[in-house]
């Protein structure tokens, strides 16, 4: 983060340097006066902040050297051709009076001037575009950093708020815990109740079952005893008599069935 900052800083510094350079390239002393005519440099101690922005392009010039203001100055009096007439007159005056002497330097100046003008006309726009692009890239990078910082800050704020909201829900946890404890206690209590009832019932049922068992055993024993005594009380005499009776009964029965059939 720190090295990004410093690189950003130096890039901004560089871009500002370039901006200053670009602005200075285009402006001539009179041209810059368009915007800041009323403000003179370093004369007052007041700071005129915010600093008004530098003009985008330099002052307008005709034929690369002559500021437009001269033409505008002379237009009311002499019309459109006035400044040109003035220029021609001045040139002829200087040549004829030999205020400007034609010598070898003149040829050199003309040739060099031609080459320079040709070069600037041909390659000027490309170079300007290139420099502008360099500048724009630096500003764009700075802007990107700024946007990233802003989004990350707002995101951080959102997340902090969300965490605060989360922390507010802590009472739910403790409610749940208390509920659990209460439920466990209640379960325990009910289990105890059930156990008591169950045990009492078991004991009573045991008594009842015991009684039933006793009764049944008495009954069986009595029945067996009665049977045994009855069987024992049958004397041999009685047995013979009963057998004879049975035989006679059977005979009678056989006769009756034979008679029927």
């Amino acid at each position: 983060m720190i090295e990004k900052q410093t690189r950003f800083n130096q890039s901004v510094y560089d871009c500002l340097f370039l901006v200053a350079a670009n602005a200075l390239k285009g402006s001539s002393p009179l041209g810059a006066g368009l915007v800041q005519a009323s403000r003179s440099l370093h004369t007052t101690s007041q700071s005129l902040a915010p600093v008004p922005s530098l003009p985008e392009k330099g002052g307008k010039v005709r034929h690369g050297i002559f500021p437009e203001e001269i033409f505008q100055l002379l237009y009311p009096k002499t019309g459109v051709t006035g400044p040109y007439m003035l220029g021609t007159g001045l040139l002829l005056y200087m040549l004829s009076k030999e205020i400007y002497v034609i010598n070898h330097e003149t040829i050199a100046a003309l040739s060099i001037g031609t080459v320079i003008v040709y070069g600037v006309k041909k390659f000027g726009p490309d170079v300007a575009a290139f420099a502008d692009k360099l500048n724009q890239d630096k500003v764009a990078k700075a802007q990107e950093v700024k946007d990233l910082a802003m989004t990350s800050l707002s995101q951080a704020i959102e997340e902090e708020k969300k965490e605060q909201w989360r922390a507010e829900g802590r009472s739910l946890l403790f409610d749940a815990k208390k509920n659990n404890v209460a439920m466990l206690l209640e379960t325990n209590y009910r289990e105890r109740l059930h156990m008591v009832t169950h045990e009492v019932k078991r004991r009573l049922d045991y008594q009842v079952a015991l009684q039933d068992l006793n009764r049944r055993m008495e009954q069986e024993h009595m029945v067996n005893w009665v049977e045994k005594s009855v069987v024992g009380s049958i004397t041999p005499q009685q047995e013979k008599e009963s057998i004879a009776k049975c035989i006679s009964d059977l005979k009678a029965l056989a006769k009756s069935t034979q008679a029927m059939a």
């Binding site: 600093v51 700075a142 902090e160 829900g169 208390k178 509920n179 439920m183 379960t187 009842v208």
Partner: protein, 161 residues
């Protein structure tokens, strides 16, 4: 001897689940399963036990005073409520968590204020193409070149260019 009605707070598990941060989700799931198990167990037990039909037993059991004795003792029996050992611990935990939560919220608010301050600084900044070097140094103090420490251009160690 009937069961008593306990004061159970209805918990909104859905809202609870929303507030759980992702790193505590497993603990929340464990708590939920445990709570559900306890609640299910509670629901499975009927509130009051089955009543004993004393008249039937009085008729059935031959021994004279036994049923009456049982009945008397049964009715007189008080089952003690189970002792609550944990609620105080839970309340203490809650108080502590409240304290730490308020401390955290305080810190969080301070952080939010800091972030907002920085955000405002960025929002109210002059656009980059209208800044001078002095404006830049004011907005981002780290860009200021230390001309005392490095008196010669470029006023910073070559390695940082």
């Amino acid at each position: 001897m009937a069961g008593r009605r306990i004061a159970l707070k209805a918990i909104d598990w859905v809202a609870f689940a929303e507030r759980v941060p992702p790193n505590q989700r497993s603990m929340f799931n464990a708590l939920k399963t445990r709570s559900d198990a306890i609640a299910a167990k509670l629901a499975s037990l009927p509130e009051s036990p089955t009543t004993i039909d004393w008249s039937h037993y009085r008729a059935a059991v031959a021994r004279a005073g036994m049923v009456d004795e049982f009945e008397k003792k049964f009715k007189a029996l008080q089952i003690p409520q189970p002792v609550d050992t944990q609620t105080s611990a839970i309340t203490a935990q809650e108080a502590e968590s409240n304290k730490s939560a308020s401390a955290y919220i305080e810190g969080s608010t301070a952080r939010i204020a800091q972030y907002e301050q920085q955000l405002d600084k960025f929002k109210n900044m002059i656009p980059f193409d209208q800044m001078t070097v002095d404006d830049l140094n004011d907005t981002f103090p780290e860009t200021k070149l230390d001309k005392v420490k490095h008196p010669y251009w470029p006023h910073k160690p070559i390695a940082e260019l």
